[in-house]
């Protein structure tokens, strides 16, 4: 029995030393975050992306109004939802400036005007992607929904499933600032007034850039997640 124990210990020792060797091959870490924080970030990012898809889904959902007042309320709600969705983005999806400083004396020397957060879309059969400012993209969705341009049917966006999201490792970009990507699949589906699925729709892959700002407070670490550019690629269309 003692002999077996000794052999087992020997095997474990070699296994440990080999895995340590393997670890030597791995390179420098890409961030300074512990596993608990990484886990929290992963959850926060997924929640934020899900929130965005649910806002988008609510904006384009067809709602019937019996009178003018009801119609106005629906339109107002859509506008508020659009604003809520924009609040999820870095700089509220608006344009922003980056000041360039002289590295020697720290004096500002130039200002770069950056475009707003963009939604890059690519459709089946057209390899050229189209860039639209996020605010403009959402406004167009609100306009489409208000005008009932989705004739006869409403557009249902199935909210992305937690398990279908893929989250990359956060990469450090500044003090307490990190960037990462989230991948998910989204299905746009035609449904009728009773939410019965109709033929027609498409499936898109989406890659969202997420910015994470971490600050230490009295109550522990505070996370702020903001969404950045979205790359949407239509991969399947059905009629």
């Amino acid at each position: 029995m003692e002999y077996i124990k000794f052999l087992l210990a020997l095997v474990l020792f070699f296994k440990a030393s080999f895995s340590a060797n393997a670890q030597n091959n791995t390179n420098k870490p890409v961030n300074d975050l512990d596993s608990a924080t990484l886990n929290q970030i992963s959850i926060s990012v997924r929640q934020e992306v899900q929130l965005f898809t649910s806002y988008l889904s609510s904006i384009v959902k067809k709602k019937s109004a019996r009178n003018k007042r009801e119609r106005e309320t629906i339109m107002y709600n859509r506008e508020s939802l659009k604003q809520e969705a924009l609040n999820l983005f870095v700089g509220k999806g608006d344009k922003y400036d980056v000041v360039i400083y002289d590295i020697t004396n720290n004096n500002p020397i130039d200002t770069i005007h950056h475009r707003a957060v963009i939604m890059q879309t690519k459709t089946v059969g057209n390899p050229v992607p189209k860039d639209t400012a996020m605010a403009k993209y959402l406004s167009y969705k609100v306009y489409q929904a208000n005008k009932g341009l989705i004739t006869g049917v409403s557009l249902q966006i199935s909210s992305c499933d937690w398990s279908q999201m893929s989250v990359s490792t956060p990469l450090k970009i500044g003090n307490g600032e990190y960037v990462m990507d989230v991948f998910y699949l989204q299905k746009f589906r035609m449904v009728n007034g009773d939410n019965i699925p109709l033929p027609g729709g498409d499936k898109t892959t989406k890659r969202v850039t997420c910015y994470i700002y971490i600050s230490d407070t009295d109550k522990g670490k505070r996370f702020i997640v903001r969404l950045g550019d979205i790359k949407a690629e239509e991969i399947e269309k059905w009629k």
């Binding site: 990359s168 991969i235 399947e236």
Partner: protein, 440 residues
């Protein structure tokens, strides 16, 4: 009877409800979405065996094979598939892992843009670069495309700067830029080729070149010994989709170093000086001790090091392994790092060889080739208490032809000797051509 009815109803309900669910969610093909390698980060995780595609394939080997674009194999018996298996085995046996921070992987992005309102296509090569503690960035390393080929192969006889132009303060320089700007290359000295990256930067800075969109991004990895492979994104109605290994090729380590050096333009900066075969002493770079060059891995590829450092690192490693084990294979490996058959053309005149000659172990001579040097070393190795150690391998100079590497060699126990040696490594074939002592 009641029981039977309940049973039938429950059976029917089980039969119907899942079907209804399937109809509604059928567009989300779960196995397909699970199999899809969605992000490059996910590719690296699966390659490293930290994540598996599904429970049916629990081992790393199967997961690596699943990362291949299977459409490149005709069948299971395809020779390419056997090669893919060998490639995967190398990864497993050599414990190769990919890391985001590795310097031996790069991206090739196909860019579509406009140059003076004309549609153009070109490639940009990007590398990961460190920009602070735990911080990295992608940096453009090179550009490739027809639009960057500015130097003409044939010059026009009619266009040149007049031989007497020096007398009138090169007045015609104004004319060549205003009147014959299209043929500006005709006025450049023979043999000059503008680096594509410089051309790219100039065109962008002048506002002439604009990128409209980027597509077809391909990642190249050089971490696997004797192989290089590329990864591309595939979108199709199949379980083999996402970021997959598009191609893999046999590639020796010196080819990899040359490729990386050419892409990063590491030693092309002092072109004129290099042409005169002048060795510049580099003080500002590579001053740290490269302890990572001394490992027990004899065939290691050093991604962050120059050709010379990699060669000397490998040479020292195999020499140390031979010293410790007496295995002649290591001797052969060390000889392979030197010029000529069995290192015959490698000239050694360091302190150790002179000491050996002094003790009549080696014949009296000013320099020795590696073959003779082995005999001297073998004599000392037999004295078991003598230990051989290498340290502080660093690059001290470089020119067009060779890298200059310094290395401390220490013999302790019975024969105490401390020598600071200089290795000259020919860049053309990555071979050590000469070893001399710095503190002669």
């Amino acid at each position: 009877m009641k029981k039977i009815v309940t049973y039938i109803i429950s059976l029917l309900s089980f039969g119907v409800s899942p079907k209804a669910q399937t109809v509604y969610f059928d567009e989300f093909n779960m196995p397909m979405d699970r199999a899809r390698v969605k992000l490059m980060d996910e590719f690296i995780t699966r390659f490293n065996g930290k994540e598996i595609r599904d429970e049916r394939y629990p081992d790393r080997m199967s997961n690596i094979l699943l990362l291949f674009n299977r459409f490149q194999f005709k069948s299971e018996y395809d020779s390419l598939f056997s090669e893919a298996k060998a490639f995967s085995e190398t990864i497993i046996n050599d414990s190769i892992y990919l890391n985001y921070t590795d310097s031996c992987w790069f991206a090739k992005a196909k860019c579509y843009g406009t140059l003076s309102n004309k549609n153009v296509e070109f490639f940009l090569y990007l590398f990961v670069e460190e920009r602070g503690e735990f911080m990295y960035k992608w940096a453009i390393a090179d550009a490739e495309g027809e639009i960057f080929n500015t130097s003409r192969s044939r010059k026009h006889n009619e266009l040149f700067i007049m031989p007497n132009d020096h007398e009138n303060s090169f007045m015609s320089l104004k004319r060549i830029t205003n009147e014959t700007s299209r043929f500006i290359d005709d006025y450049v000295k023979d043999g000059y080729e503008a680096p594509p990256l410089s051309v790219f930067l100039t065109l962008v800075r002048c506002g002439q070149l604009k990128i409209d969109y980027v597509s077809d991004v391909e990642f190249f990895f050089l971490q696997v010994p004797n192989y290089s492979f590329s990864v591309k994104y595939f979108e199709r109605n199949d379980l083999n989709l996402g970021w997959l290994i598009n191609s893999f090729n046999k590639c020796n380590e010196s080819e990899k170093v040359n490729l990386l050096c050419s892409l990063r333009h590491v030693y092309n900066q002092n072109e004129d000086k290099a042409k005169e075969h002048v060795v510049d002493v580099i003080d500002e770079v590579n001053t740290e001790e490269f302890t990572d060059l001394i490992t027990n891995d004899s065939s290691r590829f050093y991604p962050n090091r120059s050709i010379g450092e990699s060669v000397v690192g490998r040479f020292c490693n195999v020499l140390k392994l031979w010293w410790e084990t007496g295995d002649r294979d290591y001797q052969k490996k060390a000889s392979k790092e030197c010029a000529g058959k069995n290192g015959k053309k490698c000239e050694i005149s360091d302190r150790l060889s002179l000491q050996l000659a002094k003790n009549n172990i080696l014949p009296q001579d000013s320099s020795y080739n590696l073959r003779i040097f082995w005999k001297g070393l073998e004599t000392i190795r037999k004295k078991k208490e003598v230990k051989l150690d290498f340290s502080n391998i660093k690059q001290t100079g470089s020119c067009d032809e060779f890298d200059v590497i310094s290395c401390s060699i220490c013999l302790s126990g019975g024969m105490d000797l401390q020598s600071e040696d200089i290795f000259y490594v020919r860049k053309k074939d990555s071979k050590i051509i000469s070893v001399r002592s710095l503190n002669e």
